[in-house]
């Protein structure tokens, strides 16, 4: 599917060639630099882990990292995504989950799951900077990630568990 989109973009000759580094791999795409990064990730590269929720940086479902910092990929033009991009698909493997993914499983955080890729990416970014976050640190980091299923108490518990797991791995 991703290849079809890529081929169509090339045929239409509407965009500009650019190279993105996503989850440690290089991808050559041809896209309008104003295209939202999320579109490029999902439709041109085939990374469907990041989700579309609102398209205006108001829900957090599309959160990915650029050079380790969380960004709402629905609102960042792909032409401005000049660093290494990490999606939910690049933080762990089935055999070696990221501590945040492990904690999410152990706490059974997800309900419908739609917001969770974004929640996890924000939590990873928080723990990269604050190893042992307080409740306030968690509230301050996660306020832009909405969950319509109301999994917030489990998210908080899982972030605290992830902090312990991550420190234990170091």
């Amino acid at each position: 599917m991703a290849v079809d989109h890529f081929a169509r973009a090339m045929d239409d000759n509407e965009g500009y060639p650019m190279r993105l580094t996503v989850d440690g791999q290089s991808f050559d795409i041809d896209a309008d630099p104003e295209m939202p990064l999320l579109w490029a990730l999902r439709d041109l590269i085939g990374k469907t882990g990041p989700k579309f929720g609102c398209g205006i940086a108001a829900c957090g479902a599309c959160t990915v990292h650029v050079d380790g910092q969380p960004v709402r990929s629905c609102s960042l033009p792909v032409g401005h995504a000049t660093g290494a991009i990490t999606t939910i698909e690049g933080i762990g493997t089935p055999g070696k989950l990221h501590p945040v993914q492990q904690a999410w499983l152990e706490e059974q955080v997800a309900q419908c799951g739609y917001c969770q890729a974004g929640q996890i990416m924000s939590a990873v970014a928080l723990l990269d900077e604050v190893a042992d976050p307080t409740d306030a640190d968690i509230d301050n980091a996660m306020g832009g990630n909405l969950c319509r299923c109301g999994t917030y108490p489990k998210i908080r518990a899982a972030i605290k568990k992830a902090a312990v797991l991550k420190t234990a791995r170091l």
Partner: protein, 202 residues
């Protein structure tokens, strides 16, 4: 005789010191005359910009940027628990920086986030939100509360800074700050030339 000599020498020393002081005073530029008739209308133009929501919403006394102005129909704190940042930097908190959503340019999506390089809150000592004209005027002349800038530096900052420039080009249906960067720079220059008077009333 010795006493007379000492007295004469002391008088001569005092006289020469007084003459030196007079010569020095004549070289010190006279303090700039303050022309309130010319200066205050220029200040009013500057105040209209500084107090405009596009500028004042991020010059707040507390840790939360505001959403206010005609576009919002009222004053609210920025949604999503957005804050200055525990480190006081103005760039937000770990996991949720201003630049998580505000990029180098305005989003073209309906109700998408505005953007400009270096998006952040002004330091706490530079409070404009809810302040009177006299209060902002006194503040902008105080190096402890204006980022340690001369007034000339303030004028250049207003003219050249990209985040400040966003106030006049906020995108979508947001109301821009009045005038332009260049016109505000010129108003500051004119205000300085008139002795930088401030309104008296609070």
């Amino acid at each position: 005789m010795t006493k007379l000599l000492i007295i004469l020498t002391s008088v001569a020393t005092l006289l020469s010191a007084a003459l030196f002081a007079t010569a020095q005073e004549s070289q010190t530029p006279a303090p700039m005359a303050v022309d309130t008739a010319k200066g205050l209308p220029e200040w009013d133009k500057i105040y209209a910009v500084f107090s405009h929501p596009r500028c004042a919403d991020c010059h707040v006394a507390d840790d939360r940027p505001r959403w206010s102005g005609a576009h919002y129909g009222g004053t609210r704190v920025h949604a999503f628990n957005i804050q200055r940042g525990a480190d006081g930097s103005g760039f937000g908190n770990p996991g949720l920086r201003c630049t998580t959503c505000h990029f180098a340019s305005n989003s073209s999506a309906l109700h998408g986030p505005p953007g400009a390089e270096n998006w952040h809150l002004a330091p706490t000592e530079m409070v404009w939100f809810g302040k009177s004209s006299a209060e902002i005027c006194a503040q902008i002349k105080d190096r402890n509360r204006n980022g340690d800038r001369s007034l000339e530096d303030v004028a250049l900052h207003v003219r050249d800074d990209k985040l400040v420039a966003w106030g006049w080009a906020p995108g979508a249906d947001r109301e821009p700050a009045p005038g332009s960067a260049e016109a505000t720079y010129q108003a500051i220059e004119n205000w300085m030339a008139a002795g930088a008077p401030c309104p008296l009333t609070q």
